[in-house]
């Protein structure tokens, strides 16, 4: 399935802020330059503009896993929706290869079994049910879901549901994955287990990944690079390379030191 997304690079350049060349996008490249986004809340006279992002610049290279951490309400979800093309920036430019979203809640369809849910993107793009199931089946065995193919989401645990949701994201066949707090709703133990699982999954199925989280430790465990956002309006205030070899442990002294750095950047805002 590695080749299924070759070709077809989507560029969304809205009001480029400078005359320099547009980012030449290889497969799976994501570039945000000086991005600003403003929402309006309320109506009529009570209308109030809220600046979600201002001057945000971030690059994710093909195959790289970048985690974005920041205080709540700093526009992390907005950032992902810009990359996925669900929103357009009010300032700056977003150029991204085709990206698929994995929302915080699994949003599995309750009337479909796990295999059908995982293959949803294939069916949506015209594949038959058999084709979609055939595409999803090998991944179930490979990613610890063997035997759960015919279960409906209600019969699965929270961690299992997140796994199915992640496979659904993979099977969309897009070069870029946008993960929005994928383990935010899980208990601490399941969360740790799922972080190790995701690290393994991304090692076997590498993708350009943009992971949004408010958990610095999770970011350091999973990402090649961590971008720290300021409070609203969000912009990148620090970028930390995470050179630690995988599999990683949160107690690794190098990670502990990076964690300190990230926390300082967060506090400094």
């Amino acid at each position: 399935m590695g080749a299924s997304y070759r070709g077809g690079v989507l560029t969304r350049a809205v009001r480029p802020t400078d005359g320099r060349s547009r980012a030449s996008l290889e497969d799976g490249d994501v570039a945000l330059r000086g991005v600003g986004r403003v929402f309006t809340t309320g109506r009529g006279r009570r209308a109030k503009p809220i600046e979600a992002l201002a001057g945000l610049t971030l690059r994710v290279h093909p195959g790289e896993v970048v985690a974005v951490v920041g205080p709540s309400g700093c526009g992390k979800t907005t950032l992902l929706e810009l990359v996925c093309g669900l929103q357009a920036p009010d300032a700056g430019a977003v150029a991204a290869a085709p990206a698929v979203l994995m929302p915080q809640r699994d949003l599995l369809l309750p009337w479909m079994d796990a295999l059908d849910n995982a293959g949803l993107a294939r069916r949506v793009s015209g594949a038959s049910r058999e084709q979609a199931r055939a595409a999803a089946r090998p991944l179930f065995a490979a990613f610890g879901l063997g035997g759960f193919e015919d279960q409906r989401p209600a019969a699965l645990s929270g961690g299992m549901r997140q796994r199915v949701a992640f496979l659904r994201t993979l099977l969309a066949g897009k070069p870029v994955l946008c993960l929005d707090e994928p383990f935010g709703a899980l208990d601490a133990l399941t969360r740790a287990e799922m972080q190790a699982w995701l690290a393994g999954a991304l090692a076997t199925e590498p993708r350009t990944t943009l992971l949004v989280t408010h958990d610095v430790e999770e970011a350091l465990l999973l990402a090649d690079r961590v971008a720290v956002l300021s409070p609203r309006p969000g912009r990148v205030v620090a970028e930390l390379e995470v050179p630690a070899p995988r599999p990683r442990r949160a107690t690794d002294p190098a990670l502990v030191a990076l964690r300190e750095q990230a926390m300082e950047a967060l506090w400094a805002g």
Binding site: E81, C84, G85, L86, A99, V100, L101, P103, R105, L107, L109, P110, W111, D113, L120, A121, R123, V124, S125, D150, Q151, R152, A154, A155, A172, K174, C178
Partner: protein, 247 residues
């Protein structure tokens, strides 16, 4: 427990009714006692059964027609905002037209057969189906729509894979609301012009001073309404159970 208390409620109601009819000095012509109605149910069973089949077909067909047409219109209103703006007020207004006014017109257009009955019942049941289905379609999680958009889903794919299955239980619950009025609609439709059916039977029994027979027809109709209501409820539970419960 629920069944027991339902049975108890029916027994108490029947007892009070019987007492009122016997001691209250009410003529059987006006309000027959439950025992008289029971006797009519037994003696007229052949007559009731034949006419029940006619009316039951009309009601079941009308409700099914309302589900199909109401569901289709709900989808159209859901997909097209201008259409919703244009037709929703008209739809509500159409519900304000008393069916007694429309019934003779439909008889002229569609004759004395089963067609005008189907039309009247469908017309009555249509509205709750449209409203609940539309609500069901619109209740789909906005994040779910976003997810499908990042999968490059077309409008049709969103409808087919997410919105329609999500709204199916809502459509059925609309049909369930409609069932009770459908029964009244069937009687009206037969009053407007027919040669058979339980409504027709009532229309004949009253001037023949055979009130117990008319009431027996009412009992059969009520029982049918309860049965249909329960069946649709079971179907709806099955759909949501598939959605929510373990397999």
């Amino acid at each position: 427990m629920g069944r027991l208390s339902a049975a108890a409620a029916v027994v108490v109601l029947l007892g009070a009714w019987e007492l009122y009819a016997r001691v209250g000095g009410i003529e059987e012509l006006v309000l027959p006692a439950p025992s008289a109605i029971g006797a009519a149910l037994w003696t007229d069973r052949g007559l009731l059964a034949t006419n029940f089949l006619v009316t039951a077909t009309e009601i079941a067909g009308g409700v099914a027609l309302a589900l199909v047409l109401g569901g289709t219109l709900a989808v159209a209103l859901h997909v097209s905002r201008p259409l919703r703006g244009a037709l929703y007020p008209l739809l509500v207004a159409s519900q304000a037209i008393p069916i007694v006014i429309l019934a003779p017109l439909l008889v002229i257009w569609l004759g004395f057969g089963v067609l005008p009955k189907l039309a009247i019942i469908a017309l009555i049941c249509f509205f709750p189906v449209v409203v609940t289905t539309l609500d069901g379609l619109r209740a789909v999680d906005p994040d779910q729509r976003k997810l499908l958009r990042t999968m490059d889903a077309s409008r049709t794919a969103l409808l087919r894979f997410v919105e329609l299955p999500a709204a199916a239980p809502a459509a059925l619950s609309g049909a369930r609301i409609a069932v009770a009025v459908a029964v009244v609609g069937a009687v009206f439709a037969e009053y407007a012009g027919s040669s058979e059916g339980l409504g027709h039977l009532m229309l004949q029994a009253v001037p023949q001073l055979d009130t117990p027979r008319a009431w027996a027809a009412v009992v059969v109709l009520a029982a049918f309404a309860v049965a249909l209501f329960t069946a649709l409820g079971a179907l709806e539970r099955r759909l949501t159970h598939n959605a929510g419960g373990s397999p």
